[in-house]
Amino acid sequence: MAEVPVKADPMGAGDDVGDDPLGGRAGRGRKIAQVALGAVVVVALAVWAILEPKIWSTIVTVVVSVIATGGLWVLANLLFNQVRNQWLRFSALAFGGLGALLGIVLHGNGVTVGSGGGFLTWILGPLVGALAFGAVGVAMAINDDPSQRRAIAVGSSLAIGLAIALLIRSDYHPALDPVAIAVSTALGVAIGAGLSALRRRSPLGGALIGGALGWVFGAWGGADLGDGTIVESIIATLVPAVLIGVRLAMTKNPDYRARAAIDEKSRAVIFIGPALAFITVMLVIPTIRTMYLSILGRDSESFVGWDNYTDIFSNSNSFDTSNWTNMFTSIPFILGVVLLAIAVVVGIKMKQQTGRAVEIGNPTTGPLVVGLFLLSFGVFTALRGTLINNLWWVAVVTFLSTALGLAVAVLADQRRGERVAKSLIFMPMAISLVGASIIWRFMYRAQDTSREQTGVMNAAWVGLGRLSTGSGLPTLIVTVVSGLILLGLLVLLANALVKRQWARASLPAIGAFLVGWFFVRFAGIIGGGIGGFTVLPDGSTAPETILFVQETPYNNFWLMVILIWIQTGFAMVILSAAIKAVSTELIEAAKIDGATDSQVFWRVTLPQIGTTIGVVVTTLIVLVMKVFDIVKVVTNGQFGTQVLANNMFDEAFNRRNTGLGAALAILIFASVLPVMYYNVRRMQREN
């Protein structure tokens, strides 16, 4: 949510790259070529699009709606441009506009006598309305004497109210319902007075307007039209007209200062109102309605209270802890415990040395974060269900995308080919989640073991198995090479340990662990080989595939890989920009003080980009919490991969269980509330 600190050149590799964000050294000629190519493509697409009636009609719709709303918006601005210096003109135009609007509504809908005459109807009604109201506006603007104003306001409202009542066709005369009018008017008065009081104004004004609107609403809104008499029509119209007239009589012509205030306030409404209206109708009200629907039954007819929610939480499909003991035997869990133990030891040591056990960039952070991640990973493989899956998604995708993004940002920084590398890693962002799911379905495909594997993952896995269990030259080469790498890493590790340089030991240790594990398994020292094979009873081996999509619970992880593939680019771009924005003076000062590059990264850069990491993490949490497309396309929630969003879609739109669907949606909403709160707090601090 926070603005990421951005230098002019967020993706640049050097200082001489101009404002090309990817840090290219594009010359002028190349830039022109790019623009020309882009123009050709755009024109081609435009020609193609315009020849298609569907696109043509869409464009017409867009143009018309933009011109219409834009025109209205400009008109409103021009009108209020008059407020400061041309009060008379403003008053006449504003009143006239209101009159025209009323004319359109009444005459255009055929409510008044003489309407229905085709095109003229749309001119005549508004014209009469505009003239009548405009005259009132002029009269009010030129008279400053309170008693005269009172007379004009009440008199003209009486006249207009009566005129409208008489002009209304007899088949629209309402049959008045006194109760409805009383209730509605009382409600209007209360709301109007309340709003005025809230704005620290005299509640009388608000009460009058509210009462008038309430009266109109009660008299016309719910009445049976056509059953009433002319008298009822007059009552229904005259009363609110007079109420508004009285309210108008209470006003006086504003002086310049008041007019300036009106100008300023009106602009706020004109500029912000349309967007807020959209947000209210499309976001706020639907959200509230979803909350309401979630406490109703499947057809939204009966009230069921918390039943939908208890259904979700008591259902073993959404929360299944029956196999929780499995976690203790899962490898990630055990590794996580080991790392956490290391973190505790390091933390105690750091506490003694620096007084702080954990802070960003100190040696405790690494094992602590990775340990917690692996531990939670292990726990999530054992606990099953929709809710657990969602949490698992959030933990894994958020952590790995951020970590990989940071790694790539650091690795690519200032390196040859930075632009190309980043561009390619960033590319999946442009591919739809559906497209990405298709791409990875092909990656994960498993053929019958008697045939050749056509999915990359299984081909590699089976190939590794063949290599590992084989006895040819390639097997020997891999064994020797990995053995040598392991040896090298062990030498580095031993060297660092002997010199008691603990920091320098950590990376060779991690490397030696991973390569050692591979070497031991590959060479068959433990477990007879690595890769996709199975040992037959007669002692020979046969290829064996992994069903990446079907095998619970790890299929969840393979689905997450798809989103990680997409979101790493996002994390990389943001973090890369933040890294480049870290003050070079700070870094140079640290280097002059004798800090090595790694110290600079962990002690200077990383703490500096802490906020940005927070931005990336919160963004990803929100995004992952509502993951839908991938699960829908790859498994549709089968094989233990169901997540909240897909479940919600199923319930609400396939099984037509609106109540349960709404409850699931609210659950997703509730789970991002902490992030929303965090974002709001941060924005408040920034302001």
């Binding site: 949510m1 834009g70 441009n81 390196r415 561009s423 791409i439 090298g488 920091a503 929100v622």
Partner: protein
Amino acid sequence: MTTTAEPVSNPTLSNVADDAPTGGPVDRIYRFFRGIPSLVLWLIVAVWTLPTLGLFVNSWRGRDSQRSTGWWQVRPSDLTADNYDQIRTARQGLGASLLNTAAIAIPATIIPIAFATFAAYGFAWIDFKGRKPLFIATVALLAIPLQVALIPLLQLWVGGAKVTLPIIDKTVTLLPDLDLAGTAAAAWLTHIGFAMPFAIFLLHNYISSLPKDLFEAARIDGAAHFTIFWRLVLPLSVPVLAAFAIFQFLWTWNDYLIANTMIGANPDAQPTTVLIANLAGDFGRNENILPAAAFVQAFIPLLVFFALQRYFVRGLLAGSVKG
């Protein structure tokens, strides 16, 4: 920062080499590992590119070769445009679905820009009571998940909005049934609603950072907000408007959830993502044309992405949250 403290743990790979002591076999081993960071980087790049490359290659291979060998074993004789022919002539043609996608993405990109620019200017430069809380509330809506509004919005497009008043027990129509169910308009209207907080946030970040002197000078000259907006802010904001437009275009072009909810039931208005997802659900029957279809769907986003990446990145950086 205590840079003088004892050596820091967890150096990055690149730094192992920099910290290397000189001389001896240990040094030689260090030097051997020095190439690793570049290697790792390009390995990651390869891994990240491979899936898309595979899809592209497979889209030009026939059904049988796709099923018998992996795409990396492609031979020139395999190559054929059959898949593309097949999706072009399919019952629910891909071409028609691309048009449907455009019919959603174009309005959903253009219309919110106008509203959001007004609002962003209002929040940035018009002084009124409650401006900050209102702005924060608006932007807080960024994090609202789509799902939470889907059911009521679908009901709105299907049947309009009615409220039954208590006590007088009359049903009042707030919005008539506009018969939008299953049309592109239902999808793009929804998109506009969801785009608004993000658009306001992104544009506000930019517009509020324009130099204050500019506005004060104009105000002293007696320019109204409308004039300032029209003559000053709009021309200056073109880059960020472009950034938002690209962002929103990619988002709406690639969207599946809204399209599937609002239009899923009407095959004639289906956008490409829905079509492809349905093809993918057919249990392997259409598997050979999936790569081609996915590639056609991704073609325009990729084009926009590579041609206008600079604006896209700028948009991403200015407002790194999309609801």
